[in-house]
Symmetry: C5
Subunit: 95 residues, 5 copies
């Protein structure tokens, strides 16, 4: 999964019927500290996320494994709103 | 999902039988404001999209989750024509 | 799907049994005008494509959705030989 | 699969129910020698991995093939803690 | 599929049970002529490949379509040892 910030919503009236009632979130990828990166993704909301939330995005067939999204022709879903990222060694070196 | 602009169609007579009757759209990736990016994708149309439309592309197994595309050997589908992208903070920073 | 040019074949005698009888095509990615790009892919042929053909490649689980390829451990298939790409506005800007 | 070092954990209380009880690991991609690379991934733990471990990450639908992770809307899983990487020709040239 | 050279093996004792008995190969991506590229991948062996072999790697759900690998939480498999790559026009231009 990757980190992202919800920065907006996408409105579409002419769409696949399986998208009806689903919220399409515009997400900007972020690093683990919340700093914005260059990529943007549109993902379906599965956790009542809103603008400004720091979230976890899941890609691919995983996107259809929530109650909200099963059978929908989508490839990205917001699966969690992040409380915090805990790192003992923030520099990221390891052992 | 990613944003794209439909800029043409692909014509192929010698093809997998599951592609018969499906419209192959040439799409140019775009950013959330509609500005053209460098990547091009060929996607099957599931929403009667046409040239010039600003659309949402879904990738991978998701591409076979529409009535139009089930069982077809395709990896990309146009699932929505975008009306508008709403952002409270267009700069994209977030909370 | 992406565009590619078939530029050769791959020969392998020690292989997974599900590959028996399948033609492995060496494909060079191309842009929508047929101009060669830098990536190379090996894809199974599902449409009797041959060297020099300008084709459409499908990736991922889609690669196993043709009669030729079902159940094979492959991630890329040639699904169409392209006759032509039609663009009203070749510059690619759109509406 | 790719190599990564576990460098932290992600805490989220508002999340898809299928994530309950699962440990979300912050992983930094590494090369085969354990040297940190630039990408970060969040993966579910399937092998009791902890901070500092050098691990193997699996992506995509494979992420749902462990007892820990089946049916969860996730796209990455830690499937092994690496003891060592053996190379006869460390320079990587091959035969 | 992509080309790679097997350059080593990965040893892990603490791992998902579905990996038991499977050989984890360290593979370095190569071009169609066998020249080493920059990416490294860990793939499960399905064809008795060994160090130095020039092989074909398949990614994603395809990795679970061999007898060796079904149900395993893996995203890459070695499906063939390459005898040769045949190109009529080695420069790669095409028709």
């Amino acid at each position: 999964m990757i980190f992202a910030r919800v920065i907006g919503t996408v409105v579409a009236s002419q769409k696949d019927p399986n998208l009806n009632g689903k919220k399409l979130l515009l997400c900007r990828e972020a690093d683990h500290g919340g700093k914005p990166l260059k990529s943007y993704h549109v993902a379906v909301d599965a956790v009542q996320a809103g603008e400004g939330n720091f979230v976890l995005l899941s890609y691919g067939s995983a996107a259809r494994m929530t109650e909200e999204t099963k059978s929908a022709p989508i490839d990205a879903v917001v699966i969690a709103i992040i409380d915090r990222v805990q790192m003992t060694h923030p520099a990221g070196g390891g052992a």
